[in-house]
């Protein structure tokens, strides 16, 4: 019954889920079992690129949940992604152990370089994966809870909320740039060696991370569907459309917004944590306000308020970006800006809406043909 609720009347979502599942089966086979000489071989580089896109898609899903359904535009979701990434990065740094350049068994290289004697208190525990995994969820979750509690309680909405979330991610970026913060300053965390005792550069580990990202995305999609198809999901949509009336109907609007925001931040954090071992670095640039704005463009391009549209958007825009930046590495902002303007003016429902419109036209003409 639950599967029925989650998947029926969600054709687009089923299609996207199916494609992800298929990719998760086919890509590892083509990478590991097909010899490199074969034209069907998928390179490890491509696997990692796809894995990165899966993480972006998860991040986009997280944003669509709050923007598309609750109408809360966060322009700082990159911050939660980066925090999840840093938590994973700290675990990966501790995994290096004494194999760093300076060979210190406890301190990461950058701390030795700064002449630090002891590991800062907040680095303790990150040598254990379960602890890091917990922090990946708790740090973004708690920040979102505190931030959301303050913002929603004071009824900060719309543009004002968007602006303070930008400020949040900007402030975090500046803080993480500082060496004294103990997160590696502008170099961030890098030179990772192992994850869960597997070499991070091995093909099989890459496939493992790719699969983990794919599975996380699919589970997150189902979790989001569970939320939006529940009664709470209906309340959330009505908050988006008529906030004060929903409040008048006896619902505690703030608490709905808050829990949704926290859940979305946790998803973003998980996306960041899966992203970091695949790209091999996390630095304060991930907090850049521009990243969060780019994320909004992915969701808008794919189609807001459908969940699967966010996944489509993340894949298509990032594919476009990869192709474009191969030729013009520095000029990405121009097509990005153009895309945003185009989507806003021409495609208010994004790519997914375009397909829907096309289908409607077709069925309309079909109906006309039948007398």
């Amino acid at each position: 019954m639950l599967t029925q609720r989650l998947l029926t009347s969600d054709k687009g979502g089923m299609l996207v889920l199916g494609l992800i599942a298929l990719t998760c089966i086919v890509v590892p086979i083509l990478n590991l079992a097909v010899p490199e000489s074969s034209p069907f071989h998928v390179s490890t580089f491509a696997v990692t690129l796809l894995g990165k896109f899966l993480c972006y898609a998860l991040l986009a899903l997280a944003l669509d949940l709050i923007w598309g359904y609750a109408g809360i535009l966060s322009l700082g979701h990159g911050a939660f992604f980066a925090l999840g990434g840093y938590a994973m990065g700290m675990y990966l740094m501790r995994q290096i152990g004494d194999r760093g350049k300076y060979g210190d068994p406890l301190l990461p290289d950058f701390m030795v370089f700064l002449n630090w004697q002891d590991l800062p208190w907040y680095w303790h525990g990150f040598d254990m994966f379960w602890f890091a995994a917990l922090m990946i969820i708790l740090v973004p979750g708690i920040l979102a809870w505190v931030f959301g509690w303050l913002a929603f309680r004071s009824r900060v909405t719309g543009v004002y909320f968007a602006i303070i979330t930008q400020a949040l991610t900007y402030a975090l970026m500046l803080a993480f740039f500082r060496n004294e913060m103990g997160f590696g300053g502008n170099n961030g965390l890098t030179d990772f060696k192992d994850i869960l005792d597997f070499s991070i550069t091995a093909d099989s580990t890459r496939i493992g991370l790719f699969l983990a990202s794919g599975i996380a995305l699919m589970l997150a999609y189902l979790a989001c569907r569970y939320i939006v198809t529940s009664r709470a999901g209906k309340v959330i949509v009505s908050i988006r459309d008529a906030e004060s009336r929903t409040r008048f109907s006896g619902y505690q609007v703030e608490s709905y917004k808050l829990w949704l925001f926290v859940f979305s931040a946790v998803l973003a954090g998980i996306a960041g944590a899966l992203y970091v071992p695949q790209v091999g670095i996390i630095n304060p640039g991930e907090f850049s306000p521009l990243n969060s704005i780019e994320l909004v463009v992915w969701v808008a391009t794919g189609g807001r308020g459908t969940l699967y549209g966010a996944i489509v958007g993340a894949f298509s825009v990032n594919y476009g970006k990869t192709v474009f930046t191969t030729f013009y590495p520095e000029a990405w902002l121009f097509p990005l800006g153009l895309l945003f303007v185009l989507v806003t003016l021409v495609l208010p429902k994004g790519l997914v809406g375009l397909i829907g419109r096309f289908k409607k036209n077709k069925s309309a003409t079909n109906k006309e043909e039948q007398p």
Binding site: R231, K234, V235, V237, D241, A242
Partner: protein, 274 residues
């Protein structure tokens, strides 16, 4: 006519109200479910309500008419707790003092109000709108994890039938006609099983057929609920009213059957003098 003929039994002390659902059955043993006595409200010295007295019986359908500015909307505001009166008393049943309660408590406690403009949730279906309006636990974790109970679903089907939208249950509320939206909103109030329904100008902007069906709907609700309708459309009032109250300058000018009030010289004067 003696306005105090129903006057409450003053020897009963008003109970302090803690539970928003009042926690005990409403005492309507003396007939009326709503007592509005000597209520006055003034805005910057202007008396919108002036010693208003009104008694609504359990299950009755009452129409309130009166020229613009007579205080009809203000009367509803006072009953629902939106406006606090300067003086007078408002009791729900014998023992519940509405002056002490907030809007929210009054709404939950069984007095539903339908505003003039239809405000259904357009992005949701008819069914989902009613689901949202269902009485019960409204906390996030509860609505996230629990479906409606069988009993609540039965109530929902019953209400769908009452408001005549069973066929349109899966249609988006945004695509309903103006009249259907009004009925849906009445349905949303009914989901809370209110004892008293206040309806402000329900047929404004409706087609003739919709007006007729609204009349049927409101008369069918009377009996199970006490219904108070404010309306300008005299033909409509005539078609549903058993008892009509005419307000003028914040107090009751006349009360009785439609024929009685229409032949009342004071009423004729007010309406012709307008």
């Amino acid at each position: 006519m003696n306005p105090f003929k129903h006057a409450r039994n003053w020897s009963t002390k008003a109970l302090p109200v803690k539970d928003p659902n009042f926690g005990h059955p409403l005492d309507t043993s003396h007939g009326p479910i709503l007592y509005v006595e000597d209520v006055s409200v003034s805005f910057d010295g202007f008396k919108a309500l002036n010693n208003l007295n009104l008694y609504i019986d359990e299950g009755e359908l009452r129409c309130i008419i009166g020229p613009n500015g007579a205080g009809k909307t203000t009367m509803m505001d006072v009953i629902t707790g939106k406006t606090k009166p300067d003086s007078g008393s408002i009791y729900f049943g014998q023992q519940i003092n509405l002056r002490e309660l907030s809007e929210h408590q009054i709404a939950r406690g069984g007095i539903g109000r339908k505003f003039q403009k239809p405000t259904v949730f357009e992005a949701l279906s008819v069914y989902e709108n009613l689901e949202l309006a269902t009485a019960g636990n409204k906390k996030f974790w509860f609505t996230l994890t629990r479906e409606l109970t069988g009993e609540q679903r039965d109530r929902l089907d019953e209400v769908l039938y009452t408001i005549g939208l069973t066929q349109s249950r899966f249609n988006s509320a945004g695509n309903l006609s103006h009249g259907q939206k009004q009925w849906l909103e009445i349905g949303m109030l009914l989901m809370q099983s209110p004892r008293v329904l206040l309806v402000d100008e329900p047929v404004a902007g409706m087609t003739g057929e919709e007006t007729e069906r609204t009349a049927e709907l409101l008369t069918s609700l009377a009996g199970k609920h006490s219904v108070i309708v404010v309306e300008h459309d005299m033909a409509f009032v005539r078609s549903i009213a058993r008892k009509v109250t005419v307000l003028h300058q914040g107090s009751v000018l006349a009360e009785g059957s439609m024929d009685q009030v229409q032949s009342d010289p004071k009423v004729i004067e007010v309406y012709l003098g307008e």
